[in-house]
């Protein structure tokens, strides 16, 4: 059986949204996605949301999702995972034969979090690491240093990623951190944890994305199905002390699973949306995904550096771009002849968890 993404809806991303609650953001994305699919929320049989309690400031956050999605008294669950994990969950639910139409939702209301780094510090091992009292971004600084050392990559090469992605974002109407900057601007920005600099870090944004997935039979009756060809996901290790700091093993393992399931080699990928929470991560992930060949369009959307970092919705933002490109609806930033697209996510520091999805027309 095949499964397709048949509808997508996005609110767009902004640094602050004082005019909207998370419920309103979710509602807007949901209405857009169902409209796009030509379906009504009544046709949806199951709902998958992705969120983490501490980002929301509410425990058991899944309590507050059903009403604005049209999901009351339906099967609804929350995955504390990235949006691509959410898509994979919906994909598996459809493959079981239990459902034909499943919705996936992800959102960010990071502007409500006054000190995101203090929240993120609570993700460090409470016994071994948290007592050190560091800003958790030190993990990214250490990792970047190790990655540059192992691969002989330079800080300039990382800065070039920021330049590229922010430039790409200028053409993406959903993005809010598009900018024309030079590598030198990145290199001259404040050092946060050496060698990680201020402009190497993707800035937080608010927004919501909803996607509608359908089984083959339903998908064929919709206008624009984009097929899920392969999926993979993996958690490496939570331990800072024993992990491989140079290589993104979670990305390597999850992509191998996805390539195998899709029956394609990395060379067949036409466009890739890769995690770039930090500039060096794009390069590290490209190597892990075996996509380091020159000429492959990467993060045409602008990535997290250009669109903004929307926590669990970030993976969905990347898939949104892949779907838009596959449909040929990316207007000014459209890449010609896109047949196969890949999106990959990482759950951010201090995790080593990530997911990969391969989609085709």
């Amino acid at each position: 059986m095949k499964v397709a993404v048949v509808g997508v809806g996005c609110t767009g991303f902004r640094p602050v949204t004082p005019d909207l609650s998370y419920k309103e953001l979710m509602f807007e994305a949901s209405v857009k996605a169902c409209d796009d699919a030509g379906l009504h929320p009544k046709d949806v049989q199951s709902f998958v949301c992705v969120s983490e309690d501490f980002w929301e400031g509410t425990s058991i956050f899944d309590e507050y999702v059903p009403d604005q999605l049209g999901a009351v008294l339906k099967p609804v669950c929350t995955m504390s995972a990235d949006g691509i994990h959410g898509l994979i969950t919906a994909y598996m639910q459809i493959l079981t034969g239990l459902f034909d139409v499943v919705v996936v939702e992800g959102h960010s209301k990071l502007s409500d979090v006054i000190f995101p780094n203090k929240v993120n510090a609570l993700a460090l091992d409470p016994i071994l690491n948290r007592p050190l009292g560091f800003n958790p971004l030190f993990v990214a600084g250490l990792e970047m240093n190790r990655y540059l050392h192992e691969t002989k990559t330079t800080e300039e090469q990382c800065a070039a990623i920021v330049e590229k992605n922010k430039k790409n974002a200028l053409l993406n109407p959903l993005a809010c951190y598009g900018a024309k900057i030079e590598k030198e601007d990145v290199l001259a920005s404040d050092v946060i944890f050496y060698p990680l600099k201020y402009l190497d870090v993707s800035p937080p944004v608010d927004g919501a994305i909803v996607m509608v997935l359908a089984s083959e039979e339903i998908a064929r009756s919709t206008e624009n199905p984009m097929w899920i060809r392969g999926v993979g996901w993996c958690s490496d290790t939570p331990s800072l002390e024993t992990r491989n700091w140079g290589k993104a093993l979670y990305a390597r393992i999850s992509s191998e699973m996805a390539y195998k399931r899709a029956g394609i080699s990395p060379r067949e990928v036409d466009i890739a949306e890769i995690d770039d929470t930090f500039s060096y991560k794009e390069l590290q992930h490209l190597e892990a995904l075996k996509l380091e060949d020159e000429g492959l369009p990467v993060n045409v959307s602008g990535g997290s550096l250009g669109v903004g970092y929307s926590i669990e919705a970030t993976g969905l933002m990347r898939v949104f771009e892949v779907v838009t490109q596959l449909r040929g609806e990316a207007s000014g930033r459209q890449i010609p002849d896109v047949k196969i697209g890949l999106a990959q996510s990482w759950r951010g520091i201090p995790t080593t968890s990530g997911a990969t999805i391969i989609m085709g027309v």
Binding site: G57, I60, T89
Partner: protein, 385 residues
Amino acid sequence: MRRVAVVGAGMTKFMRRAKETSKELTYEASKMALDSCELSLEDIESVALGSAPDAFDGVHMKGEYLSDSAGAFQKPYTRSYVGGGTGVFSVIHGWWHVASGLFDTCLVVCEEKMSSCQPHPQGAFLTIFDNMIERPLGPNLVWIFALEMRRYMHVHNIKKEQIALVSVKNKKNALDHPCAQLAQKITVEDVLNSEVLAWPVQRLDISPTSDGACAIVLASEDKAKEITDDPIWIDGVGWSLDTAYWTNRDLYYPRYVEYAARMAYKMAKITNPRREIDVAEPYDPFDYKELHHMEGLQLCEKGEAPKLTEEGITQRDGDLPVCPSGGLLGVGNPIAAAGLMKVCEIFWQLRGEAGRRQVKKDVTTGVAQAWGDLMQVGTVVVMRR
């Protein structure tokens, strides 16, 4: 649809304050489940974790923190949660890993360590309420369940003496459970004389807060038959989430449990649950909840559950044994792990491995159910021998 079986199960002791860290509890239960079916981590293709709010441990992204101890090192791994319904839901979460055809095996692990939350986990529960409308009132869980219990008693004219029988039964059943935290021989009078917390909820109407972990191993049909001669099949799954605006609902009946149960029964081709279900483990964090959920699970008419309890039908030697494990009231309530404990119990009952807890009648079909969020979610699993 691919058939999925439970082939192994393990659980730690449930206790008020475990010396083990949450990672150690998780490891212990996972290891026991694997050992019980003589598998090792190499045989496990995917891992599904269940754990209720991060606020108990104070660990952000708790699922990530627990991944290695749940055996997920370099494996496909996700954590699901639907509040108190998580324990039974995690089995559904594991079920689709195998039923989808993506994997042949899945390790399902649930862990909860509530004692890290000082002075009491109620402090964490304050943060589950709507941050604008409800949280300023300083509500706690007992407060809203008192409303629900009161409404249930009022609509069906049920007396506290009838409800207390559930607590007496479950705490007695737990005397035979080696992992139990609050096994006790008590009387209805003990319940009625215990401290009033929020009328009509009294101390002995409530399950304790606990630390603990449970795990089960799921396998596809072919794989299950290789692993064991006695697989227990997951024949029906169902879940349903009601509106977040709980104050707009009539609390006397858990319609979300009914929706979830009907979904699971349809899949399991059960048309008459009262006749076809041999043993049930409905969620019983409070004594009235067992009755409430029996009705939601269509095991009796609305308002009829207290009568069944009075007649002894729900005793271990009765016609419809309910919570033969001792339930949350007797065994303990480490939220997510408590839900999975119910699935473990049905697994052991259907295999005839429940020892002194084994029900008298011959059992082939069992149902486990959990409930959670703001009196809002039902999760149901139907299992067959």
